[in-house]
């Protein structure tokens, strides 16, 4: 039970003209009990020196809902108390003097059904530039079942994606075509063919491959699909390549997506930078057209990486599951890009589970029901190679796309050999895991054994044996594994 009392001014005094503290206007309600249908946001609030933390947190509630800087009489024409967001709990952030966790509840009527743009315009709108705050970060959100049900969710989902590809029981394998810029369509398709024939399931356009002077999009699509179909016939497996349809306008994107479909592609791709509305439009297109939709999170690190300011990637992952993409890049733990193991685990759970229990040590602050919304396939990409297969399987599990770009194309014996090395390493590890072996510790041994009958794997293990990316994470959880929530 919270010992603090509401200090909200009631009656006609509440609406006297002038300026009033946010915490007295009804945005600080320490005894409020969130309803099951409320949207809840958890912010990390760092007030300017001398600003009362409670007032700062109340201001966040105010500025992300109904408030403006002064009292307005037109509030009285509305059910204002319902529409005010209510900060109901403020906790100091452990080991971080000057920062506070603010729990803020929003009535469901504040949001348009099924619109990420509308949700975000409130929650991360003006409030992030509010002067009395040094910094503000949206850490997590609880999206109530009632709101989740207004979204389509992933166009295809993990289960149906696997059924369409006829691939079960192991992570999928992919590679991003490199160099990411400069290849002609004809050369680009060569990489796709080699990698898929060698044993990968997917190839991928990079985020900034759209339609440039060195390769216009139609050329890329035509040559890539030649590669995909050749590889399919050579292996008897369903293969795919993420054709990036990101473009300047929705009309252009629809045109490219339609062409991809006409050519028989199983998957298309978009970039996060196209914006929430465009993402939702493409998710609906993908559902209507039996297409898997891959999302590259281009741009996210500009606002997800720093602990004090921005939006946590776990929130972006939740929004994207609602918005309806099938694949999302969610970190590798062991690769070259930011990703603390515990925090990454939290992201993966958000993508793949039907219910996320509050798990503070993974940075998950709320119970989150997904109400049978499709599952989203996380993608691990960036600086990973076959020699890490046991660690990847341990950290990331089975429902994930492991993307070895350099780790395929950089193989000393060529792209097919690189792809084969990755596939053999993966299958050997899955076999060993299922046999009950302690694959995490015996990993190097399992790989060495598999390499005895696979020269490409032997070469790969030799070339990349010393490669690792051990840097301190900039975004690790605030709570140790033993922590329990304050009551």
């Amino acid at each position: 039970m919270n010992m603090q009392q509401s200090i909200t001014v009631r009656g006609k005094d509440r609406y006297k003209s002038g300026v009033m503290e946010y915490k007295r206007m009804g945005y600080w309600e320490p005894n409020y009990e969130p309803k099951d249908t409320d949207v809840i946001a958890l912010f990390r609030v760092t007030p300017q020196d001398g600003v009362d933390p409670t007032e700062a947190c109340a201001a966040v509630a105010g500025e992300s809902s109904t408030a403006t800087w002064t009292v307005v009489w037109t509030d009285r024409l509305t059910a204002a108390e319902k529409y005010r967001a209510k900060c109901y709990r403020v906790d100091p952030v452990p080991n971080s003097p000057g920062s506070y966790f603010a729990y803020i509840a929003y009535d469901l009527d504040l949001f348009e059904p099924g619109s990420i743009s509308n949700l975000t315009a409130s929650i991360i709108g003006n409030v992030f530039g509010f002067k009395p705050l040094k910094a503000l970060r949206l850490e997590d959100m609880r999206l109530p079942t009632a709101y989740v049900k207004t979204f389509q969710g992933p166009a295809t989902g993990i289960v149906v994606e696997r059924e369409r590809l006829d691939k079960f029981g192991r992570p999928l394998l992919g590679a991003t075509v490199k160099p990411k810029l400069g290849l002609s369509g004809r050369n680009y398709g060569r990489v796709v063919y080699e990698a898929l024939k060698g044993g990968l399931d997917f190839c991928k356009d990079d985020e900034n491959i759209n339609s440039q002077p060195f390769m216009h999009w139609r050329d890329r699509f035509l040559y890539c699909m030649e590669g995909v179909n050749r590889a399919q016939a050579a292996t008897g497996e369903v293969k795919g390549t993420y054709l990036n349809v990101t473009a300047a306008t929705m009309e252009d994107m629809y045109e490219r997506a339609d062409f991809a479909k006409q050519l028989g592609s199983v998957i298309i791709m978009i970039d996060l930078v196209i914006g929430y509305t465009a993402i939702q439009s493409m998710a609906k297109w993908a559902r209507r057209n039996d297409m898997i939709l891959h999302l590259h999170r281009a741009g996210h690190s500009t606002y997800t990486r720093q602990r004090l300011h921005g939006v946590s990637f776990r929130v972006i992952a939740k929004w994207m599951r609602l918005a309806g993409v099938d694949h999302i890049h969610a970190g590798t733990v062991v690769g070259k890009l930011e990703g603390d193991p515990a925090t990454t685990r939290g992201y993966y759970d958000i993508c793949r589970e039907d219910f996320n229990p509050m798990t503070l040590e993974h940075g998950v602050f709320f119970d989150q029901p997904w109400a049978s919304l499709n599952k989203m396939m996380p993608v691990a990409s960036g600086g990973i190679h076959a020699g890490q297969m046991h660690q990847l399987l341990d950290h990331l599990g089975e429902d994930v796309v492991l993307q070895f770009g350099g780790g395929t194309i950089g193989h000393p014996k060529g792209i097919q050999a690189g792809a084969t090395a990755n596939r053999v390493a993966l299958e050997a590890m899955i076999l060993a895991r299922n046999e009950g072996r302690d694959y995490v510790h015996e990993g190097p041994e399992i790989l060495a054994k598999a390499a005895q009958t696979c020269t490409p794997l032997r070469d790969a293990l030799e070339v990349w044996k010393d490669v690792s990316f051990n840097y301190e994470s900039t975004d690790s959880p605030d709570f140790a594994p033993t922590a329990t929530p304050a009551t």
Binding site: F168, G169, Q232, A233, V238, G264, T420
Partner: protein, 141 residues
């Protein structure tokens, strides 16, 4: 060529001991194990013929290995795969699938290209084996 569908096609063919270990893994997860066979290995041939019903409620892989042996006796010239089916909510589909028997000679697939609408190509994959009627496709092996 070698059809590389399924979980373990890039490894040397599994021994019966290795297959039994994978089956045991499925049983311990509570999955039903299914044996299917076909002589049409097209990547989009979803419905292979079932060797009886999926085996629910078993504890020991031995019974399933006996079924596999029986299936091989009858359809040893064809592709046989085993799969584990998970009926739990939110999945309700196959969890693992791997080939446990394949024809000695795999002729592979022909890629047919039909040039349409300018530079576009309409692709079709056809198994060479399908030039012969069902049941006789790998019979001379």
């Amino acid at each position: 060529m070698r059809v590389t569908q399924g979980c373990f096609s890039f490894l040397p063919d599994l021994t019966d001991e290795q297959i039994a270990a994978q089956v045991q893994y499925c049983l311990e997860k509570g999955w039903a194990v299914n044996i299917e066979f076909t002589d049409d290995p097209h990547p989009r041939n979803t419905y292979w013929d079932m060797w009886g019903l999926p085996m629910f409620d078993l504890r020991d892989a031995a019974g399933i290995m006996k079924e596999l042996a029986d299936c091989r006796r009858v359809y040893g010239d064809r592709y046989i795969r085993m799969s584990g089916f998970d009926s739990s909510h939110g999945w309700e589909s196959v969890r693992i699938s791997f080939i446990v028997n394949r024809p000695k000679n795999e002729p592979g697939f022909r890629l047919e290209r039909q040039e349409v609408g300018g530079r576009s190509v309409s692709y079709t994959t056809r198994a060479y084996a399908l030039d012969r009627p069902e049941g006789e496709r790998y019979a001379d092996q």
